[in-house]
Symmetry: C2
Subunit: 339 residues, 2 copies
């Protein structure tokens, strides 16, 4: 059997990641040994956190080594099983990265029920991004009825869930997205009270106009200038859950100018803010509640989701790079098999 | 009767507050009307938060107006009373600012028991600064036995209490102060495991050397470069209670250079930090527990305190300006009457 995989060929240079940093190569998947399964990748998730792992130093977890397969969450079909709990044809959630096949220990793989929801949702609304948006909003945002909750990257995999959870909890939710199509989706499909296009020239004014009572919760996925623009609008006691910096490649030098670390620090005090950085791993204790609520909300139509599915493993690098230019509309997923 | 008071004569200029912004003037205190008391100021508290109130815009509360008496906490003696609950000679905690006398409503004044502790402590270890250090450390720092807790401005009114509360809770406490005398006091009198002089050239290296296991809690009073120097040492999941920016006058422009707002934001995510800005007002529900614990800890010798008392209302402006150069050693207080 012949497989394909994408490895990290080189570290990004001063202009950040590019297609030249990836290399597609053929390989021969190993047969399953005792306790293992051979998997065929059906869907691969592409997520912003992967950028930092391309650099030396990584982020909260180690870097991908040069020549190693790029990491990532996957939904796969069992081709061979030497693990009692899994049968050929089972669909599982795995984390074997940018490759068509993988031979991995069978223990620790989560079986996915294809009757519950489309299996690709295990990488989005019912998976890591969904749980990050759900858990982060509830645990750190703590939205109350009538409060103004702002969510950036609100049409993405994490933000769209965070925004809808806050809406369900009775908050007045405003979303930030890039371009008119995404903004329309936020108000018309997700039921947000307003959406603001961060590409518009007068973004800060537009944001202020739809937050007449200030901002009580800012769920931040993006950092950078959008983060800076929200600061004047934050109310005393506002909560700021931070789970992403998609607008900023933190392995590149910060811009020159006024050192706004000073201003941010003073504002944290003066406005008595709470900022919480968090990652999915901090929310694992909420897995049961997340799945219970989200399955029900999807079934009832209270939560909607959108996937942006590209075809073929070879399309992964350019689709991934497009994430940072906002080219995807919805959770970005690669259909690896059955293309 | 003739009194004296210090009013705000002008707003600070581009080099910050100076003696020229204050004006000492004579006035005639009004006699007490029904429900009022005439107070004689015994002690006046000088605190860093007053700087921001000298500017247009203030901080979390309104500015002092031009020509208005400078604000501040006071300990006073009742000279005349037309309020049933207060008698001539009673000692009360009040907030009538930089003046020798004040005629104020008697309701809302807290009587101080002179037998419990020296009455000046109502402005320090048993007052607003003490409660800020106690409540901020317990509520936001949440120190656990064996954790490394760092406290800046650790010899001051807030920091010295925060540091000792963390030590009592079993943490390994490191203090930051300016100069050898203050650092010795932190280790020899307050029982901290180490003290680091922020005036030393190799401050960042010295700090790293005494935090071999990183920092789990950074109780921050100062902001600026000391705050920046702690960031590389913070452990994943660290808590950063922020209740002051004494090293930075936020009404002056931030320095030019790399915009470290970007770095701070990314670090909050990568290290999964919690930053809490807070002020005394956020801790009012802890007043009973604070007084109960602190009176007991002072009596047992578990908490020590130090006051820096200057004499005479006319000494207030220069003593206040010295706060920002670290000239005080302990809680800064002005003895107004009985000089």
């Amino acid at each position: 059997m012949q497989g394909q995989r994408i490895v990290l060929a080189s570290r990004p240079g001063p202009s950040g990641p590019g297609v030249e940093n990836f290399h597609l190569e053929a390989f021969s998947p190993s047969p399953a040994k005792e306790g293992e399964v051979l998997l065929e990748t059906l869907f691969l998730s592409l997520d912003p956190y992967m950028r930092a792992r391309m650099y030396d130093g990584g982020n909260y977890k180690a870097s991908v080594g040069i020549g190693e397969v790029m990491i990532g969450g996957t939904v796969s079909r069992v081709l061979e099983s030497r693990e009692a709990s899994l049968a050929v044809g089972d669909i599982v959630e795995s984390r074997h990265g940018w490759q068509t096949h993988a031979t991995v220990p069978g223990s620790g793989l989560r079986k996915i029920d294809p009757d519950l929801a489309p299996i690709s949702t295990a990488l989005g609304v019912l998976g890591m991004p969904g749980q990050t948006g759900y858990g982060g909003m509830l645990r750190y945002g703590m939205p109350k009825p009538g409060e103004t909750v702002l969510v950036s990257a609100a049409s993405g995999g994490v933000g769209s869930v965070a925004a809808q959870v806050a809406r369900i909890k009775g908050a007045r939710v405003v979303g930030i997205a890039g371009g008119a199509a995404k903004c329309s989706w936020l108000t018309e499909e997700l039921g947000l009270v307003a959406a603001v296009d961060h590409r518009a020239e007068n973004f800060a004014e537009n944001l202020a106009a739809v937050c007449p009572d200030g901002i009580d919760v800012y769920f931040d996925n993006v950092g950078g200038e959008i983060f800076a623009d929200t600061i004047p609008l934050l109310n005393a006691g506002a909560r700021i859950p931070i789970c992403g910096t998609i607008s900023v490649d933190r392995h590149q030098p910060s811009p020159l100018g006024r050192d706004r670390m000073y201003d941010l620090h003073a504002t944290i005090l003066v406005k008595q803010l709470t900022l919480n950085g968090f990652i999915f791993d901090n929310l694992l204790d909420m897995t049961h509640a997340f799945r219970r609520d989200m399955v029900q909300w999807i079934a009832s139509g209270e939560v909607k989701y959108r996937e942006d599915v590209v075809s073929g493993l070879d399309a992964a690098p350019s689709a991934f790079l497009g994430l940072f230019r906002g080219e995807n509309f919805g959770k970005l997923i690669v259909r690896v098999a059955g293309v």
